[in-house]
């Protein structure tokens, strides 16, 4: 089938064609970039955490009054928590991953290296810490009870030993084996690497190096005491209330400020990303629907104004399939014109997003898939009006002339 009559027919109603092509162009730019952002966000939300997030509970206690004794409170709380049925391990901690709140410091391979060195998100835990987070030890050992430091006053002394994630070890020691080697803190104090764990996420989900995590055997001087608890699979949610009651009974000189499953904390932390996904997905849905309606609208209009011409064509021998093909092909020409412009728009928009908001550059694959889908959408949308056109009887050509 020749394109020339189709194009000349379109040129008789330029405006309508231009309007639909423009819609398709903008739709391509918006849909591809939105889907690209959605894809990145869901990758971010679903990346491996490296910890047993679904079975962890974070507990926070705040002591007050002259009789409060942090060391004793921690000792009694942990004895009670570890004895609870269903609890696999429990440790003190100064925070939890994927919470957007935590502590970080600079670490170095040598005390003569310039500051700030390698930034690491640090966790102060005790001998059960690695197990309590559900992190996976891949070399060396976990902390021993004798290593765990407790200093009742503010102090910037460093722990004797540390455990690093694979990425943290790599950032400090590159391809060398970090096990048994020293790590220096910002004051030049040394600790020995006694263990390496598989990568786990740190506190800040937007961090450039979220897996630079370091564990130190240390107990906070208080009055805040935080614990991380790992339960048998599926028990965490159900244990929250009873843990709170038991801790409150154990010591009157403190308030239990938080008992929360880690899955809830992580969900809250990713809420902005989830929100963005929902907004963008709704927009993509609406955009697709409106564009499809636009195509249907234009095609219906074309069928109506060309009723007589279609009748004439049928009268001089065109088959129904020829009429159908005419409209499908016309839509194809229109769609491709729009998509050509849309491709430019999509990349321009992607470029602007990546420079203005430091997002990654739009991958061409998304545009290719977007093009394929919009071609399909166009053909489907034009199908109904085109079929109506095929039903125009040839006799109509003879009627009002």
């Amino acid at each position: 089938m020749e394109l020339r009559p189709i194009i000349s027919a379109m040129l008789r109603n330029k405006t309508g064609a231009v309007l639909v092509a423009l819609q398709i162009a903008i739709a391509l730019a918006v849909v591809t970039n939105s889907v690209f952002i959605i894809e990145q966000r869901s990758e971010k939300i679903n990346r491996p955490t490296g910890i047993d997030s679904g079975n962890l509970i974070l507990i926070s206690s705040y002591g007050f009054g002259a009789n409060y004794d942090q060391r004793e409170t921690v000792r009694r709380d942990l004895t009670m928590l570890r004895a609870l049925p269903g609890v696999k391990a429990a440790s003190v901690t100064n925070g939890v991953p994927i919470s957007n709140s935590g502590s970080a410091s600079g670490y170095r391979k040598s005390p003569s290296d310039p500051m700030p060195g390698v930034n690491g998100n640090y966790y102060d835990v005790d001998e059960q810490g690695i197990d309590a987070f559900g992190a996976k030890l891949i070399a060396g050992r976990t902390f021993q009870e004798s290593e765990v430091q407790y200093d009742a006053s503010v102090s910037s002394s460093f722990a004797p030993s540390v455990i690093l994630t694979r990425d943290m070890a790599k950032a400090l020691y590159d391809s060398e084996n970090a096990l048994g080697k020293p790590v220096y803190d910002s004051l030049g104090q040394a600790a020995i690497v006694v263990g390496i764990i598989d990568n786990m996420l740190g506190a800040w989900i937007g961090d450039k190096n979220p897996t630079n995590v370091i564990f130190q055997p240390r107990i906070d001087p208080g009055p805040m005491a935080r614990y991380i608890l790992r339960t048998e699979p599926g028990l965490a949610l159900g244990m929250v209330d009873s843990i709170r009651t038991k801790l409150e009974e154990l010591n009157a000189n403190r308030a239990i400020t938080l008992v929360r499953p880690h899955s809830v904390i992580a969900k809250n932390t990713y809420q902005p990303d989830r929100r963005m996904i929902i907004f963008l997905a709704s927009l993509v849905g609406l955009m697709t629907a409106v564009t499809a309606l636009g195509i249907v609208g234009l095609a219906s209009f074309q069928v109506r104004v060309r009723t007589k011409q279609i009748g004439t064509r049928r009268a001089i021998g065109a088959r129904r399939i020829d009429i159908l093909r005419h409209f499908l092909l016309e839509n194809l020409v229109l769609t491709f014109a729009g998509l050509a412009l849309g491709t430019v728009l999509a990349f321009a928009f992607g470029q602007w997003l990546s420079s203005a908001y430091s997002l990654p550059r739009l991958s061409p694959w998304y545009v290719l898939v977007g093009i394929a889908l919009l071609v399909l959408l166009g053909q489907l949308a034009v199908l109904a009006p085109a079929r109506r056109a095929t039903l125009i009887p040839p006799a109509i050509a003879t009627r009002t002339v």
Partner: protein, 440 residues
């Protein structure tokens, strides 16, 4: 005349119900999506202290690492917070009309004479007495504490409305006491409902979180060695083995604001802080170039990037969506107007001028825009319900369509409708009467 035109326009719309519904739907969707995203944007970018914007200044000094800027991406920015030693030094300046130094902390509160309320944790703002007057915090009972209470670290407290409701059942509790971390504090005042959103005075520790539960003199924090529950950022390699070491360190964690009512005072205070930093440079601190700022609330909200990138991207995308909706509507209008061109031709033949035909069609698209706008507002009310679900917390009271937004939305809808209708209306009024009369 307009009433007649509107009636005619309505009749015309009724003639093609499907096309009319599609047009109204298109504009409603476009307006609905745009007002939803704009309302959220508007809420994020609003200045809750607009009325005092010209006299309040957030104070920042650049005491950061000479080798590494505070913010790699914006190396011109000093840290958003001050060290304790610098903040207390600036409090000594007589130049500002008022000033405030503060940080976020917390206590455990024990309810007075009420055993049913277990001791619970509250978020506290450790601050100086000018806080309430500077930031126009409204009092229900009593007032803030005196300057003397700051100087002698008297155990005074101001309660938020929520805290007073919980502990004292909403009664006037001024003069009564409550226990914070095991010590008796005297209630000096109780605030009314107050929800400055975003919390402009401390944007770095939860700009969209709820108001603090209690307000306590800053000097008590130092005396009782109360830690910060906000950000603490340190860069200098210094040994800190006590709270006193920490107070004297180069760690930044204190927010500082000054009220300066005249340009002369602004200039004077700017040179005061510059001179202060020059003096400190002699002591080996402040090794970076002079980079001290006094920023008004609106500028402060901007440099702190309260409106996050996601919001901007969404507003941009929403407007592109509106554009598609309008293109859609132009197409439908063309189809509709040209479909009824014979009617226009008849009217022209009967003596209607082009201007009249044009005007009638514009009235019709204006009506489409208006109806679309009304439906669009309905859709955005629905959208905002969804937004509230997704944001939660502080957004509950705030994500509602306000009157200006309703007016803007309807205005935009009618305007967009008319713009979309210009070309189709122009096309139809150029119809040759003769052509359309022939085939009747």
């Amino acid at each position: 005349m307009l009433a007649y035109q509107l009636r005619m326009a309505w009749k015309s719309l009724r003639r093609t119900p499907v096309v009319s519904a599609l047009m109204i739907g298109a504009i409603a969707l476009g307006i609905g999506v745009c007002t939803t995203s704009l309302t959220v944007f508007h809420l994020m970018s609003r200045n809750p202290i607009e009325a005092r914007n010209d006299v309040l200044y957030a104070v920042t000094l650049d005491n950061w690492d000479p080798n590494n800027a505070w913010d790699d991406k914006h190396p011109d920015l000093p840290p958003f917070e001050l060290t304790y030693r610098d903040a207390t030094a600036l409090l000594e300046s007589p130049i500002p009309d008022r000033h405030v130094a503060m940080y976020k902390s917390g206590f455990v509160v024990e309810a007075p004479n009420d055993r049913s309320i277990k001791p619970y944790s509250v978020i506290a703002r450790m601050t100086t007495h000018d806080f309430f007057a500077m930031f126009a915090a409204p009092f229900q009972y009593g007032s803030g504490w005196s300057a003397g209470a700051d100087d002698s670290a008297q155990l005074n407290v101001v309660l938020s409305k929520a805290t007073n409701d919980k502990l004292f059942g909403g009664a006037d509790s001024v003069g009564r006491t409550l226990r914070l971390d095991g010590r008796e504090y005297l209630v000096a005042g109780v605030l009314k409902e107050w929800t400055p959103t975003p919390r402009f005075y401390d944007l770095n520790n939860g700009a969209l979180t709820d108001l603090e539960d209690v307000f306590v003199p800053l000097s008590i924090g130092a005396q009782l060695e109360l830690g910060s529950r906000g950000n603490i950022n340190c860069w200098r390699q210094e040994t800190l083995n006590s709270y006193k070491d920490f107070l004297g360190s180069d760690c930044v964690w204190i927010q500082f604001w000054a009220e300066l009512r005249t340009p002369e005072k602004v200039a004077a205070f700017q040179s005061f802080i510059d001179n202060y930093v020059r003096e400190q440079k002699k002591l080996g601190r402040f090794e970076r170039p002079l980079n001290n700022h006094l920023r008004k609330p609106d500028e402060w909200l901007r440099v702190n990037r309260v409106v996050d990138d996601d919001n901007r991207v969404l507003v941009g995308l929403s407007f592109m969506f509106l554009m598609v909706c309008l293109l859609n509507m132009i197409g439908l209008l063309l189809a509709k107007f040209l479909g009824a061109a014979s009617l226009a031709g008849l009217r022209r033949a009967l003596g209607a001028s082009r201007k009249m035909v044009f005007r009638d069609h514009i009235v019709e698209v204006g009506l489409v825009g208006f109806i679309g706008g009304v439906f669009g507002l309905g859709l955005s009310a629905l959208g905002l319900t969804g937004v509230r679900q997704l944001y939660g917390g502080n957004f509950d009271q705030l994500t509602h369509l306000d009157l200006p937004m309703v007016a803007v939305a309807l205005g935009v809808a009618v305007f967009a409708g008319v713009i979309a209708g210009l070309y189709p209306a122009w096309r139809v009024c150029r119809v040759q009467p003769a052509v359309h009369l022939k085939t009747q």
